[in-house]
């Protein structure tokens, strides 16, 4: 293709009012709505019976002992380790001790794991549905216009993407149609949402508060994981810890680090 002089196209300013602004406003509003929808759709944590709380928290306790052993003296750590390892290996904390060593439960039959998957599905849907809707809306109403010129040059490869629906062979790829403005909005509006929702998102804080009032912790076990195996693995992890303490030589560090 020959070197083209700078192309100027006289566009009707009405294009801005009737294409650019509606798309932008709709995008912003969808973002805000999506935020509030996801807040509203958060399902309350499920009630657990005492046995399963015990199971989860004991495992958590084991993990805590493993990761924070450095605050203890060697002796206190050793007593805890011995007690926890025997309890974990014998399955004393399991929900139903008879099932120790039993088979893996089917993840789909367990209603609690189903619920977790549903939550993920919901989030995905909240992303996908509005995007497809808006895209088809733009395609149906605003295809075939050139509305703007990018301030930076692009290679010819972008032409098919930016000028979808505009069948002009010689046009500079910098000219873009309404659908490419839509893509630009998807990437660029993140900062606008940060500003709109991030600085003062009372909604998400409210949700946290309610969660705190409900009292049940988040699900520890992923779907289809055998708690017995987790306990055994945790016992092994605990057993191999080589103990040291942050209290070793703390006074030397202090004298070295702080001078008056």
């Amino acid at each position: 293709m020959a070197q083209v002089p700078v192309q100027t196209i006289h566009r009707d300013p009405q294009l801005f009012y009737w294409i650019l602004f509606p798309i932008t406003i709709v995008m912003i509003l969808t973002g805000v709505l999506r935020h509030y929808a996801s807040v509203l759709m958060q399902s309350a944590p499920k009630k657990l019976d005492q046995k399963s709380i015990r199971e989860q928290r004991s495992l958590l306790h084991g993990i805590n002992v493993r990761s924070n052993f450095h605050t203890l003296s060697k002796k206190s750590f050793a007593t805890r380790r011995d007690a926890l390892v025997t309890a974990f290996e014998s399955g004393a904390y399991l929900k139903d001790p008879e099932r120790a060593g039993g088979g893996q439960p089917n993840p789909l039959s367990d209603p609690s794991s189903m619920e977790g998957m549903m939550g993920m599905m919901k989030n995905q849907m909240a992303m996908i549905i509005p995007n497809t809707l808006i895209m088809s809306w733009i395609n149906a109403f605003f295809s075939g216009y050139v509305i703007m010129k990018l301030p930076f040059p692009l290679t010819i490869k972008f032409k098919s993407m930016l000028q979808a629906g505009v069948m002009t062979k010689d046009m500079d790829p910098r000219w873009m149609s309404s659908i490419s403005w839509y893509f630009l909005c998807i990437f660029g509006l993140q900062s606008v949402f940060n500003f709109l929702l991030g600085s003062d998102n009372a909604a998400s804080q409210m949700a946290q508060q309610m969660g705190g009032m409900g009292g049940a912790p988040a699900q520890m076990f992923g779907p289809g994981v055998d708690p017995d195996k987790q306990f055994k693995a945790e016992a092994e992890n605990l057993a191999v810890i080589e103990h040291y303490s942050v209290l070793d030589n703390v006074e030397d560090r202090l004298l070295e680090g702080i001078s008056v």
Partner: protein, 133 residues
């Protein structure tokens, strides 16, 4: 090289890290959109536009550095004197400057260039188109 043990001895406050990076990100995304507006008004094209953006976001970081970091680490009297940590290996040393508020200098100085880029391109295009209608 900082080992896990060094982190256990002198831990990092996650809440503060979050707080700081959120404040930084807020500022950067806002200012990036602002730079997009002015680049669009000036009618900058291609490289000059990107250079404009990089220059101004570095300038923003520098302004933040002078107003929030330099001044804050020297205000309380009698505070610096107990900070002259000598030869203390690990995180305890170097508590002044950017290190006091951010994990590394890179995040502070150059994180913003990437953070706000998309917002910059958006407003740049918009105002470029609006002004040159």
């Amino acid at each position: 090289m900082l080992s896990e043990r060094d982190y256990q001895i002198s831990p990092i406050v996650q809440e503060s890290v979050m707080h700081n990076s959120k404040a930084l990100q807020n500022l950067q995304s806002l200012s990036a959109s602002l730079f997009g507006i002015s680049a669009g008004i000036l009618g900058l094209e291609s490289y000059s536009g990107f250079l404009f953006y990089i220059f101004f976001s570095l300038l923003t970081s520098f302004l933040l550095y002078t107003t929030h970091i330099l001044s804050a680490s020297s205000t309380p009297k009698g505070y610096k004197e107990n900070k002259n940590v000598t030869g203390h290996k690990g995180l305890g040393s170097g508590v002044t400057g950017v290190k006091r508020y951010f994990r590394g200098g890179y995040e502070f100085w150059f994180g913003g260039v990437g953070n706000g880029f998309a917002g910059f391109v958006l407003t740049w295009t918009l105002f470029y188109g609006l002004v040159r209608a």
